[in-house]
């Protein structure tokens, strides 16, 4: 067994966390802004006369989109210069978790908030008249995309600054897990809520009269597609604050990591899928504003079903957190619990995305063919239910790993 001086362990964790925070945060900002800039280039080549106006919109969009990156920068700098009073393993884990949480959370929001900026630039090239209105809607959209990054920042600041008063190795696992869970959970919702924002900007250029309908729908859709991020935040808060009492270290650390991975990874698919549905509904309303009632209803049903894999992830997380595991000196029981979390987490990504795609197709065609809403919604539900089955197999394997092994 090796021993590390706790001071250097904490420093190591803080530096690694800071690097991860700014690294992922910058990648997200770069991807989002790069996409927006490429679209802006295309828009300028379509309509060179509007170059000034497009650059103006792009600049404002970029300024707001970059705030996720700045959050990551702030957390990274805080981590680099943070001094811990009495260093221990739990501090090290919380600092590493804080960095991961902020970096991954900013990754999704950075990608997502590039989409409204990109679509606005294209739309301004087509409809120069609407430039000011598009700018306003784009700003609202990209501000909504920042929510997962803000949630991540709240969790990571809590991880850095709060004193948990308990320096056990179990608390260390719980705090690292809290960071991981919120970080992964923010990716899907952040990137997904770019879809409704982008499609709204595109839709206003197509159908200026439907602006208020579109904006309302965008806000509802984006709020619902951020539910998985909120689920992840709930799990993070539980890992941070619930007093689990006197639990044995050996299988429990793995149970906490598994709980974090289960909800965190599961939120990626459901969050992004929900965003795709919301995007399609905004597109549909722009195409056929009179279908707004049916389109919004179908969107909400589709998003609710697309969140099912994430709810499965949450279920596994809670089982892992609150079931008492007997102490063991062997490796395999803890690996079984960790594996249960990984299995459920990854297993929910695909079905979440697939359900989102299905609902996207249904919503898009309900806007075009409103008479067959009932039929399409039925087919959508069956299709989604069948494509969820692999998530259910993953849940069964997880439950077997937890309860039978």
């Amino acid at each position: 067994m090796f021993e590390i001086d706790p001071q250097s362990l904490v420093k190591m964790a803080a530096y690694t966390g800071g690097g991860l925070a700014i690294g992922f945060g910058a990648i997200g900002a770069a991807l989002g802004e790069g996409y927006a800039a490429a679209q802006a280039d295309m828009a300028i080549s379509e309509n060179p006369k509007m170059a000034g106006e497009i650059t103006r919109n792009m600049l404002v969009g970029q300024a707001v989109a970059e705030s996720a990156g700045i959050f990551a920068l702030v957390v990274a700098i805080l981590l680099l210069f943070f001094n811990v009073a009495n260093p221990n393993l739990a501090n090290a884990a919380s600092l590493l978790g804080a960095g991961l949480c902020m970096g991954l959370g900013a990754l999704g929001s950075g990608i997502g908030s590039g989409m409204p900026a990109a679509e606005t630039c294209r739309a301004v090239a087509r409809q120069p008249r609407l430039s000011n209105r598009l700018l306003t809607v784009m700003l609202i959209g990209s501000a909504v995309c920042q929510t997962p990054a803000i949630l991540s920042m709240v969790i990571s600041l809590m991880l850095i600054f709060l004193n948990y008063g308990d320096a056990s190795a179990i608390k260390a696992a719980a705090l690292l897990g809290a960071g991981l869970c919120m970080g992964f959970g923010g990716i899907g919702s952040g990137a997904g809520s770019g879809h409704p924002a982008g499609e709204t900007c595109k839709g206003i250029a197509r159908q200026p009269g439907a602006q208020s309908l579109l904006t309302t729908n965008m806000l509802i859709g984006a709020a619902v597609c951020q539910t998985p991020a909120i689920f992840a935040m709930v799990v993070s808060l539980m890992l941070m604050f619930v007093n689990f009492g006197d639990v044995p270290l050996n299988p429990t650390w793995a149970a906490f990591m598994g709980a974090a991975l289960s909800t965190g990874l599961a939120a990626i698919g459901s969050g992004y899928g929900g965003g795709m549905v919301a995007g399609a509904s905004c597109e549909g309303i722009a195409r056929q504003p009179r279908a707004v009632g049916n389109v919004t209803t179908t969107m909400l049903v589709g998003q609710a079903v697309a969140q099912t894999p994430c709810i499965f992830g949450l279920l596994i997380s809670f089982v892992l957190m609150f079931k008492m595991f007997p102490e063991t000196a062997a490796l395999s029981p803890s690996m079984a619990l960790l594996s249960a979390g990984i299995c459920m987490g990854f297993g929910a990504i695909g079905p979440g995305l697939g359900n989102g795609m299905t609902a996207e197709g249904a919503v898009r065609w309900i806007a075009r063919n409103e008479e067959d809403t009932g039929l399409l919604m039925r087919i959508m539900l069956v299709g989604q239910a069948v494509s969820q089955s692999t998530a259910i197999y993953a849940m069964v394997i997880s439950l077997v790993l937890i309860f039978v092994i």
């Binding site: 689920f231 609710a304 079903v305 709810i311 499965f312 539900l381 069956v382 089955s389 849940m395």
Partner: protein, 224 residues
């Protein structure tokens, strides 16, 4: 937070084995059945050409599900299976809604309920398949596309039962856990009513419908 998994059990030892009966679930199931019987009685008590409000509700549900079954199975089989499908939907709907009331909880949060309903659907679908196609043609479906795929086909069929019952269980159980946790975190102020509305009514309705539709689809696949 310890109330997760708290179930009153009646344990009956029978010749070396012990059988555990979950009393709470049995009581809740009987409440649901009682409510449905009462509803059916009220809907059919005074049948008129000009229907009363309860009769209208009953008529809407029955006719909707008859149409759904007919679309999937055709006229002849629909007459046989539509009553069952309709009853299944109403039972699930009531089961998922009942948790909204205080001191009651959904019988579907216990895996046994959805699993038995799933098994019922499975047996029914295969029975319908054998009856519609004949035993030989039914067995032939297992050897598609090649002979040695049979074990995997059988596992695939069994996996359907798992997926249909765990879907319902996971959704309803997950919903009730989320409500419990959020109530615990916010000291039962403000948020829980909305969550009850969302998970109890909205998700509950969708999942009841999905379960019913999948049962119809499984029957339809076997009958084809």
């Amino acid at each position: 937070m310890n109330e997760i998994g708290r179930i009153s059990q009646l344990i009956v030892p029978v010749g070396g084995y012990t059988f555990a009966f979950n009393l709470d679930v049995i009581v809740m199931t009987w409440i649901v059945i009682g409510v449905l019987l009462f509803f059916g009685f009220m809907a059919t008590r005074h049948r008129n050409i000009v229907p009363g409000p309860i009769q209208v509700m009953g008529e809407i549900i029955v006719s909707q599900f008859y149409v759904l079954t007919r679309d999937a199975l055709g006229d002849k089989l629909a007459k046989t299976y539509a009553p069952l499908v309709c009853a299944l939907f109403m039972f699930l709907l009531m089961s998922n809604w009942i948790g909204v009331l205080p001191h009651l909880f959904e019988p579907t949060t216990d895996l046994n309920t959805p699993l038995s309903l799933g098994l019922m659907g499975f047996v029914l679908a295969h029975y319908a398949g054998i009856r519609a196609k004949g035993f030989k043609k039914y067995m032939k479906a297992y050897f598609e596309p090649v002979f040695f795929m049979m074990p995997l086909n059988i596992i695939g069929e069994l996996a359907k039962v798992i997926s249909i019952s765990f879907r319902l269980f996971g959704n309803i159980m997950g919903g009730s856990i989320i409500i419990m946790v959020v109530s615990y975190l916010t000291y039962s102020v403000l948020l829980p009513p909305f969550l009850y509305a969302f998970f109890g009514f909205f998700i509950g309705t969708i999942q009841a419908f999905v379960f019913t539709m999948l049962t119809i689809v499984y029957i339809a696949v076997q009958v084809e």
